[in-house]
Symmetry: C2
């Protein structure tokens, strides 16, 4: 099949690789209908993560089941499904505890930006859309495979409640989805940190009540002004760098929580400051499957349109160009059509 | 008045110092009826914290109001009160948010191990016992000024719920109170880490269902055995050292929270591990005033007897001996009577 592969920093190719196969009776193969590039795909692209040269890349997709293993009961070929990037059996003790991203049978989509993807623990992992969705819904459904569920997880971890004040650090697609999550959960004030006009526009469309274009200490000052000197009731940290973590802890009020979903790179947590201010930290890799039923309802009812994070679409043949545009911040998030 | 002073590591004295005075109209002076030595007093005693030579020390006490400032409305001389170690107005936005230890008018008891103590923001800080308590209740009421409220905060921060599994790291008086808190909140399994028989006995009296005497990796193995390989639903970290924090993160299940109340010393948080396992950290200095009404009810109704943490009593004259015994772990916690 045709699949996206990475060979070195900056070196993304479309390659012919072996089709994925049913390796375990709990596996399924999905024909990818829509895929996309994740901010976390840019870590290896930028040389920040190790690369296994020639390996496939991409973990966000939706599509149609092509084949199922002998033990798969809930799905059959032809079903249209959302594929959480993190696969889980949804029955182990961690899954039952709502920590599906810690499943004892955890797996990942490894060839999302390709024609086919193997899904492990298919019965636990997949969620059916109940038929082929309207094409207008496709981007929003695709967003549920990772980015929207991750923004949602940030808001859950940060403890957003109706009437609260939320600050979202990061104007990547995850941060924008965090804005949408906080707004959907009833936050009265949603302050988005962004200095890029196209991203500010999406943040506003997603319900941001205030945009802070400043950075560092000036951003903190502005947030303190907007929150009456108190700080935010909930902060969503959607980047994962030392600078963004610092901004998050600067923005949060005593007794509140920073919800973090950006994979931390070079971060040292301010433990004494956390202690002094009773500020908690929670989050991590999103348990996508946990949130999917609720998020699917919100998308199909039209309550949320997370697909607005996709400002560009490219055919699979041009996937390398998609990486280039996201790396250069010429695109917020690129949808890929095999 | 006679007051405990610290002059250098290991150098605790009983000194004659000036009586505390009403400096602000919101102050009150409390005649100390019972006081005690805190595990955190041992940090400067052991030379781990800076010392201002000759300064008074001690922040846990109960007593009778001697004098109030002109703006104090809720209390009058003669009232018997519990004195939270952290003073707060209980009306500012942080207090209203339940983060009284982040009060904009935060203050501290500075001469608790003495004849008199000044209490700032008296109307917000103090809680009356409604008359002179029975002498048998005194130790448990004294425990509410810090140690029991701090153990309670660990359990709240860790998210202990009815039926859950809780691990308590640390068998100091705070850890033991954490056991009592977890048991009172309905944890089904309360695993106390302790290898000292007298502390094990108190932990068991407080409702520990299991005692783990091992340390390090062996402690983790034992906890995993006891929790069916899952890890605990809630971990109370009641020490504050690098080793105790590591043990706490080793013991917690994916998706759960470590509640920490031991002032961190030399601690580096495992941020990537927290992210990978979706393990949160919450806690800090206890908002004592927040919990006092509930804890006072529990003590006066006989539901909890946190005063069992005091295994020794000494007159104020012998306070230096009390420090020595706690430092040498010859006593769990020493009650001081002026």
């Amino acid at each position: 099949m045709r699949a996206t592969t990475i060979h070195a920093p900056g070196d993304i190719r479309l390659s012919d690789v072996a089709d994925p196969t049913i390796d375990l009776p709990t596996d399924a193969i999905v024909r990818v209908v829509a895929a996309c590039i994740c901010g976390s795909d840019l870590w290896p692209y930028r040389g920040e993560n190790d690369i296994d040269p020639g390996s496939t890349i991409g973990h966000e997709c939706i599509g149609v089941i092509e084949e199922v293993g002998a033990d798969v009961r809930a799905f059959r070929p032809g079903d249209f499904v959302i594929v959480p990037f993190d696969h889980c059996d949804n029955t182990c003790v961690h899954c039952v505890n709502g920590a599906q991203s810690g499943c004892v049978n955890l797996g990942f989509t490894l060839s999302g930006q390709a024609e086919y993807a193997r899904v492990t623990q298919a019965d636990g992992t997949l969620v059916s859309t109940g038929g082929v969705p309207d094409s207008a819904l496709m981007p929003s459904l695709l967003a549920l495979s990772d980015v929207m569920a991750t923004g949602w997880h940030a808001a859950v971890a940060a403890g957003v409640t109706p009437g609260s004040t939320a600050v979202v650090v990061g104007d990547g697609a995850v941060g924008l989805c965090g804005v949408l999550a906080a707004q959907t959960m009833g936050a009265q004030q949603v302050i988005a940190l962004s200095r890029h006009a196209p991203r500010q526009a999406v943040a506003t469309a997603f319900g941001a009540t205030h945009i802070v274009a400043e950075r560092g200490d000036e951003a903190t000052e502005r947030i303190m002004e907007l929150t009456g000197g108190v700080g935010a009731d909930a902060v969503l940290e959607c980047v994962g760098t030392a600078q963004s973590i610092t901004t998050a802890f600067d923005a949060v009020r005593p007794g509140a929580t920073v919800g973090f979903v950006g994979v931390p790179h070079g971060v040292e947590l301010p433990v004494r400051r956390m202690f002094r201010n009773n500020v908690g930290l929670a989050g991590g890799m999103a348990p996508v499957r946990k949130y999917l039923p609720e998020l699917l309802d919100l998308v199909t009812s039209g309550a949320i349109t997370p697909g607005l994070v996709f400002d560009q679409s490219l055919p699979l043949d041009d996937v390398a160009e998609g990486y280039r545009r996201m790396d250069q911040r010429e695109a917020i998030k690129v949808l890929i059509e095999p």
